[in-house]
Amino acid sequence: MKRNIRDAAVTLAAAAALTLLPGCGEEAVRVGTLRGIPALLGPLGYAPTASLSVSAPVDQRPQVEHAGDNIRTNLFFTTIVVTHWERRGNYVTNDEVASPMAGAELHEAMIDALRTANVAREVVPSGEAEFSLETRIDHLYATHHAVNSGTVMVMEGRRDTHAAVGSKSRQYAAYGNVVLTAKLVDHRSGGARVIWEEQLVGTGQQPPGKNYKAAAQTALREAVADALATLSVRVGAALDRIQRGPTGPAYTIQGLPPVFLIERVSRYRSFVERVYVDTASGHVLRHEIGPNADPALARPGEWLLSRRSPEGVVLTPEAYEGYARALAARYDLRTVDDLSRYHFFGVRAAP
């Protein structure tokens, strides 16, 4: 009798251990924070003229991103000799793991990212400014999928009891996702005119690991940093379009420039290649490859006549048009499918 109870206890201990091993157990994880998110982009320009007020984001995440979700037991049964379980599903961060202070921390990180990118002359959290940025948090969570199962079978022999155990599990990467709706409002004429509105996405990923909550937190911080970099680029581009952006008032040139700039984006949009060409001779003066702040700068691989002067100043659309017309006498420039730039096809063939 004593031995049988001991055997049964051994069986239970094995089952309990196996249940914990494949990932059912909770690990000690710090409370999430979105403080100290690094600004991924340095200054986008050097002469911004606008003032920008950035209000705190409005949190409109769905309930599941506040309450979170856990991997659930799909099947559990136990008989005299067999105990079997299956757990599968999606882990989704809750407020505690993502951050209990998401709105306030995101607001702080947003101001920091916009200031570091030098998008406006001044970026203030509240108060009067020429432009205001309003944001809404549509999604902010990290997730990963998980599958595991196990079986314990206990067989009693004449002299002893044997336990056969088997478990299967699979680990998947953790992904961070942030979706913000951002709106830029123009107050220069006294009213409030929306000049730009867009949904911005930030993503991050972490490899599968045992401490899946910590991986989720890291992926989420990556996603926030990515979303804020995109926000800086988009706000900068919108202000540039009305000539109040990071590069300041647009530039006007007359006649044939001594040097012009062509550029193309790398296959995965991570880098931009810039070539400075001597107008008279067609010789390459400088060739540089650097990180690309805006993945949506252009189609990868296509050479375009840059909208910037060799000094880095954005040209007015009219100045660009004049600049391109002057260059077209010697170089093959064509409107292909870009609204605001010419494609560059090299030196024009001799007639």
């Binding site: 799909n74 559990f76 136990t78 990467a173 992904y175 996702n177 949506a296 609204l339 605001s340």
Partner: protein, 228 residues
């Protein structure tokens, strides 16, 4: 006596642990599990797109997206140990890839399509020279995008690329007046091949679908070439 003792301990364990059935998802958060890849329509590209013309320049705004990661997964329904869901995939700029290929599909019909990379087709940010062209603006928002690889449990198994795309397309005038608004959904498959660019096929399919949509064609004032 022995069995009774074990039974009582196991019963206690059962009650303590909890025994229940539930139906949790078998796909990543927000995804659909593509179980019947073999029943989906095959994505194809028409080598001879319709010839269209329009007096209007069409500005195609950069596609915005609310699509999240993972973008898709590898499922093996024929041979698996723990789950048919073998791994998950991350791809950052799928919205931009689709933007390029939809533009290609529309341009292949002969329409004058210009891509606005800087904005999603924001009329208030249209520059002077572009506004002077009197364009119609096409704005596209990706509501859902999923790209999976699926091995079926058929005999023999087949390897498939399976895609699901849901987009909201709006056509507006440069003053913001709306001319067209519709949701398009594409759910299809293509047999796996080395180096197959599925997002290209998907973008071309969406472009082709737009060129067959009478409402869209009316909004961009397009008609078949040769018809006045």
């Amino acid at each position: 006596m022995v069995t009774a003792a074990r039974l009582s301990v196991l019963l206690a364990a059962l009650l303590a642990t909890g025994c229940y059935w539930s139906h949790p998802p078998t796909a990543p958060h927000g995804h659909h599990a593509p179980k019947k890849a073999e029943g989906l329509p095959t994505l194809t590209v028409n080598p001879t797109p319709p010839r269209l013309r329009s007096p209007r320049v069409i500005v195609l705004g950069r596609f915005s997206t609310v699509g999240v990661q993972p973008v898709g997964s590898l499922y093996d329904y024929a041979d698996y140990e723990a789950s048919p869901l073998i791994r998950t995939y991350f791809f950052r700029h799928a919205n931009l890839e689709l933007f390029e290929h939809v533009s290609d599909a529309l341009r292949a019909t002969g329409l004058d399509v210009r891509k606005d990379y800087a904005t999603t087709g924001e009329p208030s940010l249209l520059e002077g020279p572009a506004r002077a062209l009197r364009p119609v603006i096409v704005r596209t928002r990706i509501a859902a995008l999923q790209h999976d690889q699926v091995r079926t449990d058929t005999d023999p198994p087949t390897d498939n690329e399976v895609v699901r795309l849901v987009v909201d397309v709006t056509v507006i005038e440069a003053d913001g007046t709306e001319r067209y608004s519709a949701r398009h959904a594409i759910y299809g498959r293509v047999t796996w091949q080395e180096d197959l660019d599925v997002l290209r096929l998907l973008g071309l399919e969406l472009g082709e679908r737009l060129t067959k949509d009478a409402g869209f064609l009316r909004a961009i004032e397009a008609s078949p070439r040769g018809v006045s």
